[in-house]
Each structure stands twice: as C-alpha cells, then as structure tokens.
C-alpha cells in the first residue's frame, strides 16, 4: 500500500546525504540580492522620472521686451511636483508634453492643456514662480533636490522655465555659480536645469536669463 510505496521511494533515495556548498550559496545569494536591490532602485528611479514627467506648472504667456535684472530674493510658492506659474499645484501628468530636459537627478518638463501651461520637475521643489514685470515676460524658477550620484556636498537642481520669445535663436541661463548654459527651446517654451552646490531645501538661487533674436544684440529676459 502507501507504506510500501513510501518505502520504495525511500530506498530509491538512500545514498550519501546531499550537502550543498553553503559558502557558495551565501556568496551567490548575497550577490543576487545586491543585483535585485540595484535593479529595484533603478526601476523606482525610472518610475519617479515618468511620474514627474507628467507634473506641470502653468505659465502665463505674457511677453515683453523691457529688460530688467533678475530678482535675487528667494520666493517660495509651490511645494508640488507640478504647479502653474503662480505656484498652484496641478495634476498635469496626463497633459501633452511640450518639452523636457533631464540630467542624472531628474527631469524638468513643460506640459500644456487647452488653457494652461505647466512646468514640472521630478523632485518636490520648494521654489516656484519668480515674479516678473507684468506684461513684459515671465520666468519660472524651481528648486529641487539632488542627492548622491557622485555629489558629495549638499546639492540642489535649479530649473528655469519660460516662454521663448518669437523667433528667438538662443536662450542662455546664468546661474548663481556664474555658469552660463544654453536652454532647450521647443514649442515656444524653454527649459534649463543646473546642478548647484546649494542646499535643498533652501532659498532659490538667482538666475539671469538672456535671449538672442536675429539681428539684435542679446537681451536679458525681464524679471521683476
């Protein structure tokens, strides 16, 4: 009966006991665990980037030409991934993307719906709109975290968004560390990211935005 069947099976397996190489098991197990954790971290980072790509800030599209120096004071208006130009949080992740820029710490993107334009960053920032001269132009600055990945000092990412003047050839952004970089222009908007050695959370870093129109000297984008 079943007892006999069991005895037969036990007879069939009667041999020197199997003893696996414990050290090899532990070594391989640890290595595989490390790989899985790394993979999980990468997957999580990618997911965050995708979600953040959908967050947006709305931006008023008033434009002007009166140049003015950038306001260096810190203005905190938003604590969300996506917000409009006034710092009002938006759930704009499903809106069509106009453009995006990215670095190792995340993505900043511009999205728009039928009536609203929004700026997004992948990290929760404490900065939002930088006030501008009404009717002349507008720049949105956000600040987000930058951690690890070779950064040994406190760091943050300053993102500068704005409306690109019609026919503009180039938009440059000068950040507080004196670096001048070229912004990405697409769909009538520009965006620029700069990793700085300034703590996050913390006050917004001052920026100066310049743009170049054909046949005209470079001008500073107005900010209040």
């Amino acid at each position: 009966m079943t007892r006999q069947l069991k005895e037969l099976m036990h007879e069939a397996t009667d041999r020197a006991a199997f003893s696996p190489d414990i050290d090899q098991l532990l070594t391989t197990g640890r290595r595989q665990t490390r790989k899985r954790r790394l993979l999980a971290a990468c997957t999580a980072a990618a997911s965050v980037a995708i979600v953040a790509g959908g967050t947006v800030f709305a931006l008023d599209t008033t434009r002007g030409a009166a140049p003015a120096p950038a306001d260096q004071s810190a203005e905190v208006g938003s604590s969300g991934l996506c917000a409009d130009s006034s710092g009002q949080g938006l759930d704009a992740r499903t809106w069509p993307a106009v453009l995006y820029v990215q670095d190792t710490y995340g993505i900043s993107s511009v999205h728009r719906s039928a009536k609203t334009v929004a700026f997004c960053t992948t990290e929760w920032g404490d900065g939002a709109k930088r006030s501008v001269v009404p009717g002349t132009g507008r720049v949105v600055v956000r600040k987000s975290s930058a951690v690890g990945r070779g950064l040994t000092e406190p760091g943050s990412v300053t993102t500068v968004f704005g409306v690109a003047p019609a026919g503009v050839q180039r938009v440059t952004v000068e950040t507080s560390d004196g670096h001048v970089g070229v912004a990405t222009i697409k769909g009538g908007y520009f965006a620029y990211r700069r990793v700085e050695k300034t703590p996050w959370p913390g006050p917004l870093s001052p920026v100066i935005v310049r743009y170049k129109l054909p046949g005209l000297p470079e001008q500073v984008m107005p900010q209040r």
Binding site: Q4, L8, M9, A12, S19, P20, L26, G29, R30
Partner: protein
C-alpha cells in the same frame, strides 16, 4: 541579510537540503539534475528568506520552490526526454524476477518516470514527503480535486506496472 537571519538560513539548509534533494530526485530521476535544482531552489529561498521568516511556512515554501524548479528545469529541456534518461535505468534487475526488480532501488524511479509530470509530483509529495492533499495542492499550485484525481490515476498506473503486481492494490488511495 542580517547575520542572525543568515545563520538561521544556514541551519535550515543544513537540515533540509538532503530531503529537498531527494524529492527533486524522485521528480526528475537524475541526481545531478536534482542537486542543481535543489541548489537553485535554495538560492531562491535565500532571496526570500527575510520575508519568509516574517510570514512563516518556510518548509512549505522551500518544498514548493524545489518542486517548481525541478519541474521547470525538466520542462526547459527536451519535451521528449524521458526522466532519468534511457541509459540511466540500464542497471535494473532481471525482468524475469519481479521481486528482484522490486528490490532494485531504481525500479520505483523508473516507474515514476513513466508517469506524467503532475501525477508523479502528486505521488512523491503525498507518499514520500507525506503531505496532505491540501499541502500538495499548495505546493503544485492546483486544486485539491486535481491532486486527488492525479494521485488516483498515478496509483492505477503503478498497479498496472508488472513490477508492482505483487504489491497491494494502490488504487483507491488517491484521496
């Protein structure tokens, strides 16, 4: 994994690896393949060890992983391959002597090899590992009804095997 947790894992492996390997052997009929499958299953167990320690039922999970790993390995190979291989059973005893064959330790493995995979797994888990019907169903990821019917069919086939003709009737023990 924390050192204490790893110590527990080593203890588990030390005490259960051989039993798991025996189960794998009866499922695949090849010691080398059984050892490989057990090793692979133990690695999977290592990765899940912290969670298993929190949730319990380590033994059941280990057996489930060994069974699935062994059967997966078997599936990954040729679908026409006979468990244990043709040459593996060449040392079976004289067919003219049924009792002599019965004494052969390979005979049961050969008989198991002739069973469909799930029937074989049901027999091994039910009568070698002495699992209940529900535990067997859990290990195989199927219903208890399937376990009962597969076990019954397996026993009927074994009963028809000439080598086991002198044994008591296995049939009717599927439940």
């Amino acid at each position: 994994m924390k050192s204490q947790s790893e110590h527990d894992y080593v203890n588990f492996v030390t005490h259960h690896a051989n039993g798991l390997c025996n189960t794998a052997y009866l499922l695949c009929g090849d010691w080398r393949r059984a050892e490989d499958a057990t090793q692979e299953a133990l690695l999977k167990l290592y990765r899940s060890w912290p969670r298993l320690q929190r949730n319990g039922a380590i033994g059941a999970y280990a057996r489930k992983v060994v069974v699935s790993t062994t059967l997966d390995t078997f599936r990954r190979r040729s679908s026409t391959e006979v468990v244990g291989g043709e040459t593996y059973f060449s040392s079976t005893a004289d067919p003219a002597d049924p009792m002599g064959r019965l004494e052969s330790r390979l005979l049961i493995v050969q008989a198991l090899a002739e069973l469909p995979t799930r029937q074989r797994a049901c027999l091994v888990l039910r009568y070698f590992d002495e699992l209940s019907v529900s535990e067997t169903a859990e290990a195989l990821g199927c219903s208890t009804g399937t376990v009962k019917s597969q076990t019954l069919r397996a026993l009927e086939k074994l009963r028809l095997n000439p080598a086991f003709a002198d044994l008591n009737d296995f049939a009717g023990l599927g439940g």
